[in-house]
Symmetry: C2
Subunit: 245 residues, 2 copies
């Protein structure tokens, strides 16, 4: 069996997220599996590096699937990009050892969140950023972000009520850059809990706007109370940039 690794870019706007939900054909996974069915005539389940929520975008989602089809890789990539909808593209394709597993073997991820920081809205970035019209203090946000770096139980910064699995994660870096009216948050870590990047961004924005004090971060890490943190910012500002193996 060949094991094929795909690197996938998608605009999440029209989809209910990555993960298949029955057979409604409104998830990225189903769209890709549909093309694999055309290609191989087999019902093959692909393995993604992890879920992305409804509306969230990806520049570098990774998935793998196993097949006996002998088609050359370049031709296979062209086949995908001919039959996938225009808002999903296979950017890169390669053959990997049979033991490679896109979810189990992922050791880290980078996510980006984009905030349009101006009272006048944006036309061209409206579907890929969150419009936050209040003024924010970048330095304050950077200082607060430093408190999140390292290994912590992040359950208070997630949508999880409780969890049988560990909710401890390591954040390697958070960089916050302003380019014109756009603020770009980049998060690197070994893994992120459900909605964690969006809640972290919402909390940092509330600190930057002076609505929350930066001590809230220690409080949420220690007391694990979701309600104390900032709002969950919308999914359409979020991008899965890269998965590390």
């Amino acid at each position: 069996m060949r094991n094929i690794k795909l690197t996938i870019e998608y605009d999440g706007k029209r989809y209910l997220g990555w993960q298949r939900l029955g057979d409604n054909d409104k998830t990225i996974q189903e769209k890709i599996e549909g093309v694999i069915k055309l290609l191989t005539n087999e019902d093959i389940e692909i393995i993604g590096s992890g879920r992305t929520d409804a509306g969230t975008h990806a520049r570098g989602q990774v998935a793998n699937f196993k097949t006996t089809v002998t088609m050359p890789l370049a031709e296979m990539q062209q086949f995908f990009n001919r039959y996938l909808p225009q808002d999903i593209v296979v950017n890169h394709i390669e053959e990997v050892p049979e033991r490679f597993h896109a979810r189990y073997h992922a050791v880290g991820k980078q996510y980006s969140y984009y905030v349009w920081s101006n009272p006048v809205p944006t036309v061209f970035e409206r579907n890929r950023s969150f419009h936050f019209p209040q003024a924010v203090d970048l330095e304050k946000m950077q200082q607060a972000a430093e408190k999140l770096i390292g290994t912590h139980d992040f359950i208070g910064f997630s949508a999880l009520k409780k969890s049988k699995k560990s909710t401890t994660r390591t954040i390697e870096s958070i960089t916050i850059m302003q380019e014109g009216n756009m603020i770009h948050f980049a998060f690197n870590g070994n893994g992120f809990l459900h909605k964690m990047v969006r809640i972290l961004t919402g909390t940092l924005l509330a600190i930057g706007a002076g609505e929350l004090d930066e001590t809230i971060i220690d409080q949420v890490l220690n007391e694990k109370i979701r309600q104390a943190a900032g709002e969950t910012v919308p999914s359409h500002g979020l991008f899965l940039d890269q998965v590390y193996y």
Copy 2:
């Protein structure tokens, strides 16, 4: 009467262009006039700097209208951006002398055209660039573009069959820049004929791809035969960047 000048950004995808066409409500002009009607309760016709085609975008379209309404400018801008659809934004608003006319007083324009130059398509730029998968020679295109600079009769590079008005225009500059997989063509001149930027871009691309020789430019300028020039590239790669007064 106050004379109000608007600078407008729009995503042309959903519209039949700038110019009102009866009352179908599918043009940018009608959307803006609709909000002016809400604002002033008067039927006011706005004057645009010029038309843009169906699907073409703008970063800096300019229009003016006259009104007796006394609302402050900042409030008026907020009103526009609250009631306009999300794909049209008033970026800037100012009061100008009563004689100012957005079309008659325009002395120049800048247009940009974006070409996605890679066999693998783009997800995020798909609605704002033309996918041209063949390899192109940037230097060849730059050399050919030099022949277009200056004052010429550009009717052979337009969609006009014949014209009672002058079809002589002056192109000040054409710059061609590659940023990653995107080729950005920027055209500056005192005015552009119908579809002229798209036909010039199509011709330069054909030269860059080796399908046409650069001598075609002299031939079309001299013999004024539209058929000899390159194809009209699609409207969704075109942006009206700026209007000069």
